[in-house]
């Protein structure tokens, strides 16, 4: 679950939206890579809309497979963009259960949203950077809006 302490210590993660003329650039930081992916989902939700107070959906299992770590982050965000649009749910609650360079397993659950903010079409590879250091992980990703 978001914010759950792990063996690596308390989870610290954040996101910020940076300047991009045409699209939206998101800067992500976390103390571990799995939490970085979870934070990416939360940033996406913040962009997409405001949740209602309705009860959340059931937990759903999600698996994403990609060619490498960069492609995995793009594919993960695009998985959430598509599910949000089809299910009309904001997937704010995310638990990454397993993460390798090429595969992500997660459970997610969403809530209906009342007000849309930014229409996100997809995540892109453009300018994508993921850095993993002993001190934590960071990434920058551009979303087409």
């Amino acid at each position: 679950m978001p914010g759950t302490p792990t063996a690596a210590g308390p989870v610290v993660a954040s996101h910020a939206f940076e300047q991009h003329t045409g699209e939206v650039k998101v800067r992500l930081e976390a103390n571990q890579l799995s939490e970085l992916f979870a934070e990416a989902a939360r940033a996406l939700c913040e962009l997409l809309g405001s949740p209602t107070a309705d009860a959340p959906s059931e937990w759903q299992r999600v698996t994403v497979i990609a060619r490498d770590r960069d492609a995995l982050l793009v594919a993960w965000l695009n998985e959430l963009v598509a599910r949000t649009e089809i299910d009309h749910l904001l997937y704010r609650e995310v638990a990454i259960t397993d993460l390798t360079e090429q595969r992500l397993d997660a459970t997610i659950r969403g809530v209906p949203f009342r007000e849309t903010r930014t229409a996100v079409k997809a995540a892109t590879f453009h300018g994508l950077q993921i850095a993993v250091e002993p001190s934590g992980a960071s990434a920058t990703v551009v979303l087409d809006v």
Binding site: T21, N78, R117, F125, H126, D144
Partner: protein, 472 residues
Amino acid sequence: MSIHAEPIATFEYELVDGRVGTCAHVFADSELITAIAHDHSLQQLANVTSLPGLYGCAFGMPDMHEGYGFPVGGVAATALPDGVISPGGIGFDINCGVRLLATDIDRASFAPYRERVVHDISRTIPSGYGHGGRLTLERDVLARVLEGGCRALLDELDAGLPEDLDVIESGGTLAGADPTAVSERAYARGSDQLGTLGGGNHFVEVGLVDTVFDEASAARLGLYAGTITVLIHTGSRGLGHQVCTDFLALMDEAQARFGIALPDRQLACAPLSSPEGRRYLAAMRAAANFAFANRQLIAHRVRAVFRRHLGVEHTLRLVYDVGHNTAKIERHGKRELCVHRKGATRAFGPSSTEIPVRYRGVGQPVFIPGSMGTASYVLVGTDEAAARSFASVCHGAGRVLSRGAAKRQVMGNELRRTLESRGITIRCPSNQELAEEAPEAYKDIDRVVDVVVGAGLARKVARLVPLGVVKG
């Protein structure tokens, strides 16, 4: 060597980055090129010249700004049979485009109905992220729309008029579309989105022909000073987004196998002669047909709104419908090329046999919307543009401010009051979204159009001003 632009002709600059054998030109004046150089769009245009099989130069339009992969306002052609097709050169919103309808209603006659017509359009046309429409298509019907575009929509739903097809780019149907190349997830995203605007800078704008620059050409297009128009800007919605997402991942996987190395993974591409390239082209055409049909259904519903309020005698005539996020196989000179237009509009000249018979001798209509509250232009393509820009012009004013910067600089509620005090009815779900599309966030549309005309890419026909805007 850092990349920069050097003037080579009036309204034309060449990119210089120290590489030999690459060619990229930007149509701009000194003020616009300064604005363009402010972000990363020059580098993005330079990156485009890395595409295998590129034919001639890559071109930047005067509204060019930073995108992803291609810049927005980028044009590049690759030579068949082995040149590549790049989904990033088309964008996620496949065949996003603009459709203009004309009426014989004058401003005074329309004035009593303006508020209620704009309000009714906002109630009738769903907008916003992920918002489905009032119509959910069975899978087999959707497949027929993907294959047949506007013709299928007429057959299936009786949406539109048969004569509309004559004045839609490619007749509203790109041949060679393959519904089986579209993923089930794309079907799922698109099943309830036909007839919806979506979000971002999409809109339905009720306007007025404010100025006519060329009366003879305007009359051929059915545009007369002082009459009411409707401009519709939207695309292929989630279905198109998913097609691009699917094939970008596929092509990204295949780059090594094709022996292609690119400076930006978002430019991932495949030779048009490869199975991947052919399948993407077929899927992209299907998504493009969905976009044509989407604008067709929205226009059909707008016509119904006008009938409800103003009576049946006022028909909204379709002037033209043209996309600005496409790749099309076109003959230029003796070569068959795949022309990518990412945020750029096809603009065939008066002698082209590809344009409607009624517009031959005039040129293909081109619509260049300004920002919310400013003017939009109707132009026609020139024969000269074929040699200068693969018959392409810009698609709008082009952003200069990020959405975040626009929201910090502009108060949405003040903007709403300002626009309404100028007699423009606004329907937009939130003031923040309104601020994102404020005039300050865009280049000066008059200047952008002057560059297009000065460079010989198109001619001005008319200028439209908004009376009411329904924002996506």
